[in-house]
Point group: C2
Amino acid sequence: MNDAEPASESADGPPRRRRRDPEGHRAAIIEAARHTFAERGYARTTLREIARRAGVTHGLITRHFASKERLFLAAVPGNRDLEQVAAGDPETLPDRIAAAFVRRLETDAVNDPLIALLRSAASDERAAAHLLVAMQEHSAVVYRSVLSPGESPVPGDDLDTRVALVGAQMIGVAFSRYIARTEPLASMPPDRLTEHLTRILRQILFG
Amino acid sequence: MNDAEPASESADGPPRRRRRDPEGHRAAIIEAARHTFAERGYARTTLREIARRAGVTHGLITRHFASKERLFLAAVPGNRDLEQVAAGDPETLPDRIAAAFVRRLETDAVNDPLIALLRSAASDERAAAHLLVAMQEHSAVVYRSVLSPGESPVPGDDLDTRVALVGAQMIGVAFSRYIARTEPLASMPPDRLTEHLTRILRQILFG
C-alpha cells in the first residue's frame, strides 16, 4: 500500500487504529464520505475532499471503492448493513427492516446520506435518481435471498414491484419526518413509528 | 367588482366566458396559479405574476383567495377535489383515493403543484412544509367525515396518524414515479399502480 501514510506508532502499547491497517483506512473514508455527502449532496461532493477529511490519498479511495458511486453506496448505512438486517426468519423480515430503518435515522438523520440523496433527487440531479435505483436493486437482491432462499431469483416477478413500494413508503416517511418535518410523524415516538411501518411493510411485501 | 377589466363583449351571441363573471375569473386565476407554482416553486411565485398571467388585477386575486397560501391550496387538484373524491361508501374510500391520485398525476404531473411542493420542501423551504401540513389537515377532516359521519371528530385519535401515513405513501410514490423516476414504479401502468396503492392504503387506514 504505497500511498498509505507513514506509520507513526507510539511505543506504549498497540494504537487503537493502526496507520497502515486497510480496515482502519476504509472506516475513516466511509466516515468522511458520510459527512461530506450529507453536507454537500451527492453531485457537489468530490473524492478529493473526502480524501482530505479522511487524511488519506485520492488513490487510496479509488483502490478501496473504485468510484464515487460505489463509495456512496458503501457509505449509506441502510444499504451497507442490509444483508445483516435482513438475515433471519422471512416471516419477520418487515419487522427487522422497519426497526433498522427507524433506529438508523433516529441515530443521525442529519448525516444520513439517504436524506441528502432525496434532497438531491428533488433538485433533479439524475445521478441521485440513479443511486436510488441502485439502492433499490440491492434491496431486491437481499430481500429475495431471504424470502426465497431455495429458489433462483426470477427477474421481473412481482417482488421488484413490492420492493419498490417498500422503498416508496420509506422515502415518504423519511421525507415527512426528517425533511418537511410534518406532524404527527415528525414527533411520533420511534417505537410507535416502527410498529406502524412494520404493519404497512408486511402488507406491501406479503399482502 | 370595480377592479375587473372593462367588459368588451362582441355583438354576435354570448361570449364563452363573460369578462365580469366571478367564476370565470376564479378559474383563470387557478389555472395561472397552477402553472406558475409548478414552474417557479412556491417561494418564488408572486401573486403579481399570477395576476399578469390570468389577466386580472392583484386586488382581484386577494379578494377571491385572501393569500398566496390559500390560493395554493385551492390550486392543488388533489386538495381541491378531495371532498368530491372521498364522498361515498367508507369501505371503498381507499379505492377512490388511490384512483383519483394516480389519475390526476397521470394527467399532468409536470404542472401538478404537489410535485413543485415536494421539490420546494426538499430544499428546506419551511413555507412548503407548512403547506404539506395544511393539505394533510384538510385530508384528515375529509376522511374523518367519510369514515365516521355520525360521530364527532376526536382530536388526536389514531386517524391523524393514519392519514399522515397515507400521505407519506403518496409522497413516496409521487417522488419515485414522477421526480426521481425510478423503475419499476416510473413506467408501471396506471391501473396496476392504482391496484397496489389501494391495497396499501386500505391496510394503512383500516389494518
